[in-house]
Symmetry: C2
Subunit: 354 residues, 2 copies
């Protein structure tokens, strides 16, 4: 899609004159996500209600399976983005709630299909739908939610948002197919990986924000700004996730750390570390990722190499750069609570990794 692979991706602009110290901004006692959530609490409640209404079906397995994922504590970042973009764009109607629910349905469908694909055992700390119900229902319930998403979009009576989100859905699928090549593949370039992330993750963040702005009837420059914000936020978010899978900067490895490693996913921290490795390490990487022959101790060793080569810091630095680019895109908006909340969200995307 136009713009997804724009020049801002590989070389995000940092050091904007308007960049504030993220420590100061996040040190207020409430988290940035809470701050944004408070601003759109009523809209989020309406979105949540609509999500639950529209995932029902006469076929009981559908809401059962969908509920498992939808009520498993996801942060609803994407619908939040849609609502915030609509509000920032001055929207006063109620179609943005439908759009936000549609965005969450697309995201949920992607997760369900991704579970089938990766045979991943854990998703948001719960046993994945795929393991509980099998491949079959996960694929079909994903299809159902995807269809429901388009029904909700039709109800917004706005072909432009349908165009944006249908386009994003195609790009997400392309990104997921591209990612297939990166599994157990040590020769993936960093550039290729960032293209995958732009497509499979950032495209929906970008479309979520852009479609909210379009629904609000915002002017072209603001639509483009919110799209750029969403795209860069999505990149910052995914790269931070990649770093968190190796425990982030802390020594405290959460229970889900190591998922990417165990699946042999070539994410950015790994690719950077491999690029900085000598022949002995190259042998190690080939065995644990290329051949997926791993012992219990290998994840610790991988993490040591990723931290030791500076690959973790490099990944987090790049994520921080994308967050700054996201914030810089908001400069055309007047200073105010919406802009500050979105800026804080960009900071949160990366500071949660500290």
């Amino acid at each position: 899609m136009a713009g997804v692979q724009g020049s801002g991706i590989l070389a995000p602009m940092g050091g904007s004159a308007d960049v504030r110290d993220s420590v100061v901004k996040t040190g207020t006692g409430i988290s940035p996500v809470e701050r944004l959530h408070a601003l759109i609490a009523a809209d989020m409640a309406a979105t949540d209600k609509l999500i639950h209404t529209r995932m029902t079906s006469g076929v009981a397995l559908i809401p059962d399976l969908a509920k498992h994922l939808i009520d498993s504590g996801g942060k609803r970042l994407r619908p939040m983005l849609t609502l915030a973009a609509a509000e920032a764009g001055g929207y006063t109607g109620n179609h943005h709630v439908r759009l936000a629910a549609a965005v969450e349905f697309i995201h949920t469908a992607t997760l369900l299909h991704d579970d089938v694909v990766d045979e991943s055992a854990l998703r948001r700390g719960k046993v994945s739908a795929n393991l509980m119900w099998g491949n079959k229902p996960s694929v079909l319930v994903g299809d159902f939610l995807f269809s429901r998403a388009f029904q909700l979009m039709v109800e917004t009576d706005n072909l432009a948002v349908l165009d944006i989100l249908a386009g994003a859905a195609a790009v997400i699928a392309e990104g997921e197919v591209m990612q297939l090549k990166s599994s157990n593949n040590l020769s993936v370039t960093e550039e290729h990986y960032l293209k995958v992330v732009s497509s499979k993750t950032a495209a929906l963040f970008a479309a979520a924000a852009e479609s909210g702005a379009v629904a609000a009837g915002a002017e072209e420059s603001k639509i483009a700004a919110l799209r750029a914000y969403g795209l860069n936020l999505g990149l910052a978010f995914q790269l931070t996730d990649d770093a968190l899978d190796y425990g982030g900067r802390t020594e405290d490895l959460g229970k889900n750390a190591g998922d990417d490693f165990r699946e042999g996913k070539a994410t950015l921290p790994l690719l950077i570390a491999i690029g900085r490795s000598g022949p002995r390490e190259a042998e190690f990487w080939q065995r644990v990722i290329g051949d997926l022959k791993q012992t219990e101790a290998d994840f610790r060793r991988a993490r040591e190499l990723i931290v030791g080569t500076g690959a973790l810091e490099a990944t987090l630095d790049l994520a921080a750069n994308y967050a700054e680019t996201a914030k810089a895109a908001l400069e055309i908006f007047p200073d105010g609570e919406w802009r500050r909340a979105l800026e804080a969200l960009a900071d949160f995307a990366v500071t949660r990794a500290v």
Copy 2:
């Protein structure tokens, strides 16, 4: 969806005054599908071209996998229906070609996801995409084509057709989930089975025809007629397929006969035969379908029971009734080549089983 489970499904009206002898109509040397195809040859060529243009992607695996299924000799019945409905509705624009391509993409996505689901080895006589490429790409390429379908619909600039096809896609997913319960399940009722067929197969035939008529700006009564035609044609088509899986009326079992049986699918011929079985046969059905423990000779035995109990004839009779109902729905159209071609298509749906 409204209308899908309308009263016409379980008790199709036969014996309309306008019903003609299908033998006379099909005995002209060219097949009914060829007759319809000849009428819309230019539109079909344009649709085919558009399908191939729009399934391309910078990610090579996508067109490779999609092409495997799209070029494997499918009859393109659904897009043909959309084009014919638009023409019968008096359409003079070119959006119907986009719509027809979208309908075929939705159908192809469904097949790809169904392959994943059923681990079916053969699809249209070729090795299924799933076996060649694995579950992962089949799910994702299906998602890609589904997204492309919605992009094509957006280009028709018509929210009403988007509504119809998004609704049909949701109903198809519901039908597929419903069908999960029918696998290896001897207690499925015939009514439940017909509901499954209405959803998973006939809903797309109905939507294909209806959306063509809507795009043409046809009047309400003609839209409803074409929708009813499509729905009943879809039912006739699927029930005939079910009978053909047991070799139809001939003794010549094609190479794909027995697929449903081997997967333990409880289709209508089987359900009727089971309902007419004694205790000894009940044991047989429990073993081969309920427990899926089959020997080489079991398919022949199953076919004997299905033919012997009259279940095959009953299934084909019901299919013929649906075909008559489909034709009767066309009575509000003036006699002419379009109406005759569509009538002939309904006959073809069932006579191919003789």
